[in-house]
Protein backbone atom coordinates (compact mmCIF):
# COMPACT_ATOMS: atom_id res chain seq x y z
CA UNK A 1 0.00 0.00 0.00
CA UNK A 2 1.25 3.46 -0.70
CA UNK A 3 0.31 6.44 1.41
CA UNK A 4 -0.13 9.53 -0.68
CA UNK A 5 -0.48 13.07 0.52
CA UNK A 6 -0.02 16.32 -1.31
CA UNK A 7 1.77 19.45 -0.21
CA UNK A 8 3.02 22.57 -1.90
CA UNK A 9 5.87 23.67 0.32
CA UNK A 10 8.73 22.60 -1.93
CA UNK A 11 9.80 24.37 -5.07
CA UNK A 12 11.76 23.59 -8.24
CA UNK A 13 14.07 25.58 -10.43
CA UNK A 14 12.91 26.93 -13.76
CA UNK A 15 14.69 24.17 -15.75
CA UNK A 16 13.10 21.21 -14.01
CA UNK A 17 10.17 19.32 -15.38
CA UNK A 18 9.70 17.55 -12.08
CA UNK A 19 11.64 16.51 -9.02
CA UNK A 20 12.05 13.36 -7.02
CA UNK A 21 13.80 13.43 -3.67
CA UNK A 22 14.28 11.28 -0.61
CA UNK A 23 13.41 12.90 2.69
CA UNK A 24 15.94 11.59 5.23
CA UNK A 25 13.83 12.81 8.13
CA UNK A 26 10.63 11.06 7.23
CA UNK A 27 12.04 8.30 4.97
CA UNK A 28 9.56 9.48 2.38
CA UNK A 29 10.03 9.64 -1.37
CA UNK A 30 8.65 12.93 -2.64
CA UNK A 31 7.76 13.37 -6.30
CA UNK A 32 6.62 16.57 -7.93
CA UNK A 33 4.41 16.78 -10.98
CA UNK A 34 6.33 19.77 -12.31
CA UNK A 35 3.98 22.34 -10.93
CA UNK A 36 4.86 22.42 -7.26
CA UNK A 37 2.32 19.76 -6.41
CA UNK A 38 4.07 16.99 -4.53
CA UNK A 39 3.10 13.42 -3.91
CA UNK A 40 4.66 11.92 -0.79
CA UNK A 41 5.19 8.17 -0.60
CA UNK A 42 6.20 7.00 2.81
CA UNK A 43 6.77 3.27 3.10
CA UNK A 44 7.29 3.54 6.83
CA UNK A 45 3.62 4.38 7.24
CA UNK A 46 2.43 1.59 4.99
CA UNK A 47 0.52 -1.02 6.90
CA UNK A 48 -2.46 -3.03 5.85
CA UNK A 49 -3.68 -3.60 9.36
CA UNK A 50 -6.37 -1.29 10.61
CA UNK A 51 -6.59 -2.95 13.99
CA UNK A 52 -9.40 -5.29 13.14
CA UNK A 53 -10.70 -7.84 10.67
CA UNK A 54 -14.34 -7.12 9.95
CA UNK A 55 -15.05 -8.46 6.46
CA UNK A 56 -14.42 -11.41 4.21
CA UNK A 57 -15.38 -12.03 0.60
CA UNK A 58 -18.15 -14.44 -0.25
CA UNK A 59 -17.87 -16.46 -3.48
CA UNK A 60 -21.03 -18.00 -4.91
CA UNK A 61 -19.53 -21.22 -6.21
CA UNK A 62 -20.81 -20.44 -9.70
CA UNK A 63 -18.50 -17.89 -11.26
CA UNK A 64 -17.35 -15.19 -8.80
CA UNK A 65 -13.59 -14.68 -8.69
CA UNK A 66 -10.79 -12.20 -8.23
CA UNK A 67 -8.13 -11.67 -10.86
CA UNK A 68 -4.97 -9.68 -11.22
CA UNK A 69 -1.38 -9.79 -12.28
CA UNK A 70 0.86 -12.57 -10.99
CA UNK A 71 2.85 -11.92 -7.83
CA UNK A 72 6.34 -13.12 -6.87
CA UNK A 73 6.48 -14.34 -10.46
CA UNK A 74 10.19 -15.23 -10.40
CA UNK A 75 10.25 -16.91 -7.01
CA UNK A 76 11.44 -20.50 -6.75
CA UNK A 77 10.10 -20.74 -3.24
CA UNK A 78 7.32 -19.11 -1.34
CA UNK A 79 4.28 -19.25 0.90
CA UNK A 80 0.55 -18.82 0.44
CA UNK A 81 -1.67 -18.20 3.45
CA UNK A 82 -5.46 -17.85 3.54
CA UNK A 83 -8.48 -18.19 5.75
CA UNK A 84 -11.37 -20.09 4.21
CA UNK A 85 -14.88 -21.17 5.11
CA UNK A 86 -16.59 -23.51 2.67
CA UNK A 87 -20.33 -23.63 2.02
CA UNK A 88 -20.49 -26.80 -0.04
CA UNK A 89 -18.86 -30.15 -0.41
CA UNK A 90 -18.34 -32.53 -3.28
CA UNK A 91 -16.51 -30.28 -5.71
CA UNK A 92 -12.94 -29.08 -5.71
CA UNK A 93 -12.75 -25.39 -4.88
CA UNK A 94 -9.98 -23.03 -5.86
CA UNK A 95 -8.46 -20.91 -3.13
CA UNK A 96 -5.65 -19.39 -5.22
CA UNK A 97 -4.51 -20.12 -8.76
CA UNK A 98 -1.77 -18.67 -10.88
CA UNK A 99 -1.12 -19.62 -14.46
CA UNK A 100 0.31 -18.93 -17.85
CA UNK A 101 -2.98 -18.37 -19.64
CA UNK A 102 -1.36 -18.55 -23.06
CA UNK A 103 -1.09 -22.32 -22.70
CA UNK A 104 -3.23 -24.82 -20.85
CA UNK A 105 -0.66 -26.80 -18.92
CA UNK A 106 1.28 -24.22 -16.91
CA UNK A 107 -0.49 -23.51 -13.66
CA UNK A 108 -0.46 -23.83 -9.89
CA UNK A 109 -3.63 -24.36 -7.90
CA UNK A 110 -4.26 -24.37 -4.14
CA UNK A 111 -7.66 -25.86 -3.48
CA UNK A 112 -10.05 -27.71 -1.26
CA UNK A 113 -10.07 -31.16 -2.84
CA UNK A 114 -13.58 -32.28 -3.70
CA UNK A 115 -13.04 -35.97 -3.17
CA UNK A 116 -11.32 -35.84 0.22
CA UNK A 117 -12.20 -32.41 1.61
CA UNK A 118 -8.49 -31.93 2.32
CA UNK A 119 -6.15 -29.12 1.34
CA UNK A 120 -4.51 -29.89 -2.01
CA UNK A 121 -1.86 -28.20 -4.13
CA UNK A 122 -1.65 -29.15 -7.79
CA UNK A 123 1.09 -27.90 -10.09
CA UNK A 124 1.45 -28.51 -13.77
CA UNK A 125 4.64 -27.42 -15.45
CA UNK A 126 3.84 -28.62 -18.91
CA UNK A 127 3.54 -32.29 -18.10
CA UNK A 128 2.24 -34.52 -15.35
CA UNK A 129 0.37 -32.95 -12.49
CA UNK A 130 2.27 -32.67 -9.23
CA UNK A 131 -0.31 -33.31 -6.51
CA UNK A 132 0.23 -32.76 -2.80
CA UNK A 133 -2.67 -33.45 -0.47
CA UNK A 134 -3.06 -32.84 3.25
CA UNK A 135 -4.71 -35.03 5.84
CA UNK A 136 -7.31 -32.86 7.58
CA UNK A 137 -10.90 -32.30 6.50
CA UNK A 138 -11.18 -28.57 5.87
CA UNK A 139 -14.52 -28.69 4.08
CA UNK A 140 -16.32 -28.17 7.35
CA UNK A 141 -18.34 -25.00 6.98
CA UNK A 142 -16.20 -23.39 9.67
CA UNK A 143 -13.29 -20.97 9.34
CA UNK A 144 -9.97 -22.71 8.75
CA UNK A 145 -6.51 -21.29 8.22
CA UNK A 146 -4.59 -22.93 5.39
CA UNK A 147 -1.06 -22.42 4.15
CA UNK A 148 1.44 -23.93 1.77
CA UNK A 149 5.17 -23.39 1.72
CA UNK A 150 7.57 -24.42 -1.03
CA UNK A 151 11.32 -24.52 -0.44
CA UNK A 152 12.03 -24.98 -4.18
CA UNK A 153 12.12 -28.78 -3.95
CA UNK A 154 9.16 -29.81 -1.81
CA UNK A 155 5.96 -28.54 -0.30
CA UNK A 156 4.56 -28.34 3.20
CA UNK A 157 0.87 -27.87 3.89
CA UNK A 158 -0.56 -26.43 7.09
CA UNK A 159 -4.06 -26.40 8.54
CA UNK A 160 -4.80 -24.20 11.52
CA UNK A 161 -1.11 -23.64 12.10
CA UNK A 162 -0.10 -27.30 12.19
CA UNK A 163 1.79 -29.22 9.48
CA UNK A 164 -0.18 -31.79 7.54
CA UNK A 165 0.75 -35.37 6.83
CA UNK A 166 1.15 -35.35 3.06
CA UNK A 167 0.18 -37.67 0.29
CA UNK A 168 2.34 -36.88 -2.72
CA UNK A 169 2.26 -37.70 -6.37
CA UNK A 170 5.09 -36.33 -8.50
CA UNK A 171 5.89 -33.74 -5.86
CA UNK A 172 8.48 -31.78 -7.83
CA UNK A 173 8.63 -28.42 -6.05
CA UNK A 174 7.28 -26.49 -9.03
CA UNK A 175 6.63 -22.93 -7.93
CA UNK A 176 5.79 -19.54 -9.39
CA UNK A 177 9.20 -18.92 -10.92
CA UNK A 178 9.37 -22.17 -12.85
CA UNK A 179 7.44 -20.80 -15.80
CA UNK A 180 6.06 -17.54 -17.10
CA UNK A 181 2.89 -16.44 -15.33
CA UNK A 182 0.22 -14.18 -16.77
CA UNK A 183 -2.37 -14.00 -14.01
CA UNK A 184 -3.32 -14.77 -10.45
CA UNK A 185 -6.88 -15.57 -9.42
CA UNK A 186 -8.66 -16.26 -6.18
CA UNK A 187 -11.88 -18.26 -6.01
CA UNK A 188 -11.68 -19.77 -9.48
CA UNK A 189 -9.12 -21.54 -11.61
CA UNK A 190 -8.28 -19.47 -14.69
CA UNK A 191 -6.40 -21.26 -17.45
CA UNK A 192 -6.26 -20.73 -21.18
CA UNK A 193 -9.18 -22.96 -22.06
CA UNK A 194 -10.61 -23.82 -18.68
CA UNK A 195 -12.16 -21.61 -16.07
CA UNK A 196 -13.50 -23.72 -13.29
CA UNK A 197 -13.21 -25.09 -9.76
CA UNK A 198 -15.11 -22.14 -8.28
CA UNK A 199 -14.99 -21.56 -4.55
CA UNK A 200 -18.29 -21.68 -2.68
CA UNK A 201 -17.96 -19.88 0.61
CA UNK A 202 -15.85 -17.17 2.19
CA UNK A 203 -12.18 -16.31 1.81
CA UNK A 204 -10.28 -13.83 3.95
CA UNK A 205 -6.79 -12.46 4.56
CA UNK A 206 -4.90 -14.03 1.64
CA UNK A 207 -1.16 -13.38 1.56
CA UNK A 208 1.80 -14.47 -0.56
CA UNK A 209 5.52 -14.49 0.21
CA UNK A 210 8.56 -15.18 -1.95
CA UNK A 211 10.16 -17.30 0.74
CA UNK A 212 9.15 -20.45 2.55
CA UNK A 213 8.02 -19.34 5.99
CA UNK A 214 8.92 -21.56 8.92
CA UNK A 215 6.37 -23.68 10.76
CA UNK A 216 6.76 -21.28 13.66
CA UNK A 217 5.85 -18.34 11.42
CA UNK A 218 2.83 -20.20 10.07
CA UNK A 219 1.75 -20.84 13.64
CA UNK A 220 2.16 -17.14 14.34
CA UNK A 221 -0.09 -16.28 11.37
CA UNK A 222 -2.71 -18.74 12.62
CA UNK A 223 -2.56 -17.00 15.99
CA UNK A 224 -4.87 -19.49 17.68
CA UNK A 225 -7.57 -18.77 15.12
CA UNK A 226 -7.54 -14.99 15.01
CA UNK A 227 -6.07 -13.16 12.00
CA UNK A 228 -3.59 -10.47 12.90
CA UNK A 229 -1.22 -7.94 11.38
CA UNK A 230 1.07 -9.58 8.80
CA UNK A 231 3.20 -6.51 8.16
CA UNK A 232 6.14 -7.71 10.24
CA UNK A 233 6.41 -10.81 8.04
CA UNK A 234 6.73 -8.59 4.94
CA UNK A 235 4.32 -10.30 2.57
CA UNK A 236 4.69 -9.65 -1.15
CA UNK A 237 0.92 -9.51 -1.48
CA UNK A 238 -1.80 -9.23 1.14
CA UNK A 239 -5.47 -9.01 0.26
CA UNK A 240 -7.70 -8.23 3.21
CA UNK A 241 -11.01 -8.89 1.44
CA UNK A 242 -12.96 -5.85 2.50
CA UNK A 243 -10.75 -4.47 5.23
CA UNK A 244 -8.19 -2.90 2.91
CA UNK A 245 -8.41 0.37 1.03
CA UNK A 246 -11.56 -0.96 -0.63
CA UNK A 247 -13.30 -0.36 2.73
CA UNK A 248 -16.06 -2.85 2.06
CA UNK A 249 -17.03 -1.26 -1.25
CA UNK A 250 -16.26 -1.40 -4.95
CA UNK A 251 -14.78 -4.05 -7.21
CA UNK A 252 -11.08 -3.58 -6.42
CA UNK A 253 -9.43 -5.59 -3.67
CA UNK A 254 -6.33 -3.64 -2.75
CA UNK A 255 -3.04 -5.29 -2.00
CA UNK A 256 -2.15 -4.06 1.48
CA UNK A 257 1.48 -5.09 1.25
CA UNK A 258 3.93 -2.61 -0.19
CA UNK A 259 3.61 -3.96 -3.72
CA UNK A 260 0.23 -2.85 -5.04
CA UNK A 261 -0.83 -6.09 -6.67
CA UNK A 262 -4.49 -5.17 -6.61
CA UNK A 263 -7.17 -7.64 -7.70
CA UNK A 264 -10.50 -7.09 -9.44
CA UNK A 265 -13.76 -8.73 -8.44
CA UNK A 266 -15.27 -10.35 -11.52
CA UNK A 267 -18.88 -11.37 -12.03
CA UNK A 268 -20.19 -9.62 -8.94
CA UNK A 269 -20.52 -6.10 -10.23
CA UNK A 270 -22.77 -5.06 -7.39
CA UNK A 271 -20.68 -6.33 -4.51
CA UNK A 272 -22.40 -4.32 -1.81
CA UNK A 273 -25.89 -5.44 -2.75
CA UNK A 274 -27.31 -6.88 0.43
CA UNK A 275 -29.12 -9.70 -1.31
CA UNK A 276 -26.09 -11.09 -3.05
CA UNK A 277 -23.42 -9.65 -0.87
CA UNK A 278 -19.81 -10.29 -1.77
CA UNK A 279 -18.47 -8.39 1.23
CA UNK A 280 -19.71 -10.10 4.35
CA UNK A 281 -19.15 -9.42 8.01
CA UNK A 282 -18.25 -13.04 8.54
CA UNK A 283 -14.68 -13.48 9.67
CA UNK A 284 -12.50 -15.93 11.55
Amino acid sequence: MSTLTTHTTASRDSHSIGLCKFNTTTNAIEVSDGSNNWQVYNPDTATGWSGSNTYSLNFDGADDYLIGSPVTASAQQGTISAWIKTSASGSSQTILNTSDATVDNKWLNLRVDGSTGHLRFVANNGGTNSITTGSTDINTGSWVHVAITCNSSAYSLYVDGSPETLTNSNNDGTWFGDFSLTNLSIGRQIRSTISALPFNGNIDEVAVWDSALSSSQISTIYNSGTPSDLSSLSPKAWWRMGDGLEANSGTTIYDMSLFSNDLTIENATDPTNTAGAVYQSDTP
Binding site: D60, A62, D63, N129, A196, N267, T269, D270, N273, G276
Partner: protein
Protein backbone atom coordinates in the same frame (compact mmCIF):
# COMPACT_ATOMS: atom_id res chain seq x y z
CA UNK B 1 -32.38 -12.20 -4.48
CA UNK B 2 -29.75 -13.45 -6.88
CA UNK B 3 -31.16 -15.42 -9.79
CA UNK B 4 -29.31 -17.44 -12.42
CA UNK B 5 -30.05 -18.14 -16.09
CA UNK B 6 -28.41 -20.23 -18.77
CA UNK B 7 -28.22 -18.92 -22.32
CA UNK B 8 -26.76 -20.21 -25.54
CA UNK B 9 -23.29 -18.89 -26.24
CA UNK B 10 -24.60 -17.53 -29.52
CA UNK B 11 -26.76 -15.17 -27.45
CA UNK B 12 -23.89 -13.67 -25.47
CA UNK B 13 -23.45 -10.86 -27.98
CA UNK B 14 -26.95 -9.67 -27.07
CA UNK B 15 -26.33 -9.51 -23.32
CA UNK B 16 -26.62 -6.10 -21.68
CA UNK B 17 -23.92 -6.39 -19.02
CA UNK B 18 -25.36 -3.41 -17.18
CA UNK B 19 -28.30 -5.60 -16.23
CA UNK B 20 -26.45 -8.67 -15.01
CA UNK B 21 -23.79 -9.24 -12.37
CA UNK B 22 -21.16 -10.62 -14.71
CA UNK B 23 -18.46 -8.26 -15.86
CA UNK B 24 -18.18 -9.11 -19.54
CA UNK B 25 -18.32 -11.91 -22.09
CA UNK B 26 -14.70 -12.71 -21.27
CA UNK B 27 -15.41 -13.51 -17.64
CA UNK B 28 -18.52 -15.65 -18.14
CA UNK B 29 -18.55 -19.27 -17.15
CA UNK B 30 -19.18 -21.44 -20.17
CA UNK B 31 -20.22 -25.08 -20.37
CA UNK B 32 -17.56 -27.66 -21.08
CA UNK B 33 -18.37 -27.73 -24.79
CA UNK B 34 -18.65 -23.95 -24.91
CA UNK B 35 -22.22 -23.97 -26.13
CA UNK B 36 -23.84 -22.38 -23.07
CA UNK B 37 -23.08 -19.53 -20.73
CA UNK B 38 -24.14 -18.61 -17.20
CA UNK B 39 -25.73 -15.28 -16.25
CA UNK B 40 -27.00 -13.95 -12.92
CA UNK B 41 -28.83 -10.85 -11.78
CA UNK B 42 -30.58 -9.31 -8.82
CA UNK B 43 -34.30 -8.60 -8.79
CA UNK B 44 -36.43 -8.60 -11.90
CA UNK B 45 -35.39 -10.70 -14.86
CA UNK B 46 -33.83 -8.47 -17.52
CA UNK B 47 -35.96 -8.02 -20.62
CA UNK B 48 -33.45 -9.70 -22.89
CA UNK B 49 -33.68 -12.86 -20.74
CA UNK B 50 -37.46 -13.13 -20.73
CA UNK B 51 -38.52 -16.70 -21.34
CA UNK B 52 -35.31 -18.17 -19.97
CA UNK B 53 -35.62 -20.57 -17.05
CA UNK B 54 -34.63 -18.97 -13.76
CA UNK B 55 -32.66 -20.91 -11.18
CA UNK B 56 -31.97 -20.36 -7.51
CA UNK B 57 -28.43 -20.51 -6.18
CA UNK B 58 -28.93 -24.06 -4.95
CA UNK B 59 -30.47 -25.17 -8.24
CA UNK B 60 -27.70 -23.70 -10.37
CA UNK B 61 -24.97 -25.27 -8.24
CA UNK B 62 -26.53 -28.67 -8.87
CA UNK B 63 -26.53 -28.00 -12.60
CA UNK B 64 -22.98 -26.65 -12.63
CA UNK B 65 -21.66 -29.69 -10.81
CA UNK B 66 -22.82 -31.96 -13.63
CA UNK B 67 -20.68 -33.15 -16.54
CA UNK B 68 -22.08 -30.52 -18.89
CA UNK B 69 -20.39 -27.80 -16.84
CA UNK B 70 -17.61 -29.58 -14.97
CA UNK B 71 -14.97 -31.46 -16.89
CA UNK B 72 -12.71 -34.25 -15.75
CA UNK B 73 -9.91 -32.15 -17.23
CA UNK B 74 -10.31 -29.66 -14.44
CA UNK B 75 -7.86 -31.38 -12.20
Amino acid sequence: MRTYCIINSSEVSGVDFDQVLQTSADTLRYSVDGSKALLKYEGTQPFFLLGKTEYTHEEILTILSGPEWTSDDEI
